[in-house]
């Protein structure tokens, strides 16, 4: 560790976020959170411009001891480093940009419907990630294969499949599917009553939980996503609704399948027409800073919530029940 240098600054992969009662340093390299008192957060702001010695000289007695403890904490946890050239280490840019019109799509697959037109439309949005929820039933894999065939040359980078198990479902058939369609990222089988198969190489998992219970639960508020991409997204836009469509069993398009409101139907309208509607995009630019419930929460850029929002008279937003 370098202990020389006039200035002490945070590594650029660390970001200090202030909350109402405490602050936290997001470490994007390790994916960890280091909670610190607000007084240390203020000190970090001061240290970006002033040399360590100057700041220390302004303090006396116990304050100086606390300052030394803070500096020691930052160094021991490898959160900050000394340098004589603080301007050579600018803060990480805070903008978020993605070229896609839609980044994420969730589709409740209906084996009785034709998704060829939708696949084409999804490709035009340059969509990157797709989650397909497949209901139980005879022939589900054959109809699913038809959809995957349509998606074979699209812009999708990854496809996750959630499959409700039935007595005909076999691991070997899933393995073939996994190898046949290389856009598949993972296959998750729900409601699986048999002994959980092990030892296979493919990313195929089996869970006993019922599909309904899995789909109906919002992402828990005590699980935090700590990475640079997510931080930039959530500090600029709504981390869940931004550039996302979710399509129900009958083709209805929503911001989230847990919501009631629908904005159109993929079997009757073009996806581009639905997603360009202002009402559909109304929450895209609402970052967690603008949500009253999260404003004072230092972990606001790590939360992944799906709750609908309500505009308040102050121009901010409040969470609403599903």
């Amino acid at each position: 560790m370098i202990n020389n240098g006039s200035h002490l600054i945070l590594y650029s992969h660390n970001r200090n976020v202030r909350g109402k009662e405490r602050s936290v340093i997001y470490n994007f390299k390790k994916g960890t959170l280091s909670f610190i008192p607000n007084s240390l957060s203020e000190l970090l702001d001061e240290l970006t411009d002033k040399p360590v010695a100057t700041v220390r000289a302004e303090l006396e007695g116990e304050d100086r001891e606390t300052f030394d403890e803070y500096v020691s904490y930052l160094r021991t946890n490898q959160l900050a480093f000394y340098t004589n050239e603080p301007h050579a280490f600018p803060e990480m840019p805070g903008e978020y940009f993605s070229p896609e019109h839609i980044t994420n799509c969730v589709l409740e697959f209906n084996p009785a419907r034709d998704y060829s037109h939708f696949s084409h439309q999804l490709n035009e949005t340059l969509c990157k990630n797709l989650e397909i929820r497949v209901p139980a039933g005879f022939g589900q894999l054959n109809t699913l294969k038809e959809l995957l065939e349509h998606l074979r040359s699209t812009t999708l980078r990854s496809i996750a499949i959630y499959l409700e198990a039935d007595e005909r479902l076999q691991l070997s058939a899933l393995q073939v599917l996994y190898h046949q369609f290389t856009k598949l990222d993972k296959i998750t089988v729900l409601d699986y009553k048999e002994e959980i198969p092990t030892g296979h190489q493919e990313d195929i998992e089996f869970f006993k939980d019922s599909a309904e219970s899995v789909y109906s639960k919002p992402f828990p508020l005590d699980k935090y996503l700590v990475n640079r991409k997510y931080f930039l997204l959530s500090s600029n836009y709504h981390p869940y609704f931004y550039k996302r469509i979710e399509v129900g069993f009958n083709g209805e398009v929503k911001n989230c399948l847990l919501h009631q409101q629908s904005f159109g139907n993929i079997f009757q309208q073009n996806v581009s027409e639905i997603i360009s509607c202002e009402d559909f995009m109304k929450w895209w630019n609402v970052s967690n800073d603008q949500i009253e419930d999260f404003k004072g929460n230092e972990l606001r850029y790590a939360l992944f919530t799906q709750q609908p929002l309500k505009l308040t008279s102050k121009g901010t937003y409040q969470l609403e029940a599903f």
Binding site: K128, S158, K183, D185, K208, V214, L225
Partner: protein, 79 residues
């Protein structure tokens, strides 16, 4: 030195015949064999798909860093 020294943590190999080794620096006798699959840059475990829009037949499949949706399943739920 007559005593042969071995490093238990590394199995040395050479890909050259003795004829060439005599002309090469000594460390060509002590090469370490690494499996291609253990090197990320070799893309040995990468799955490739296609993208017509990108004119690519080697379109890398990758797992997004953030969840696809509200679904969170944890390993302990296997029981």
């Amino acid at each position: 030195m007559s005593e042969e020294q071995t490093n238990p943590s590394a199995a040395y190999v050479t890909i050259f015949e003795e004829e060439f080794l005599q002309k090469l620096p000594v460390f060509y006798r002590y090469m370490i064999l690494t499996e291609t699959s253990s090197i990320g840059e070799m893309y040995a475990h990468t799955r490739f798909s296609k993208s017509a829009a990108h004119f690519s037949k080697e379109y890398i499949q990758y797992t997004p860093v953030n969840p696809y949706s509200n679904i969170l399943l944890e390993e302990k739920e296997h029981d």
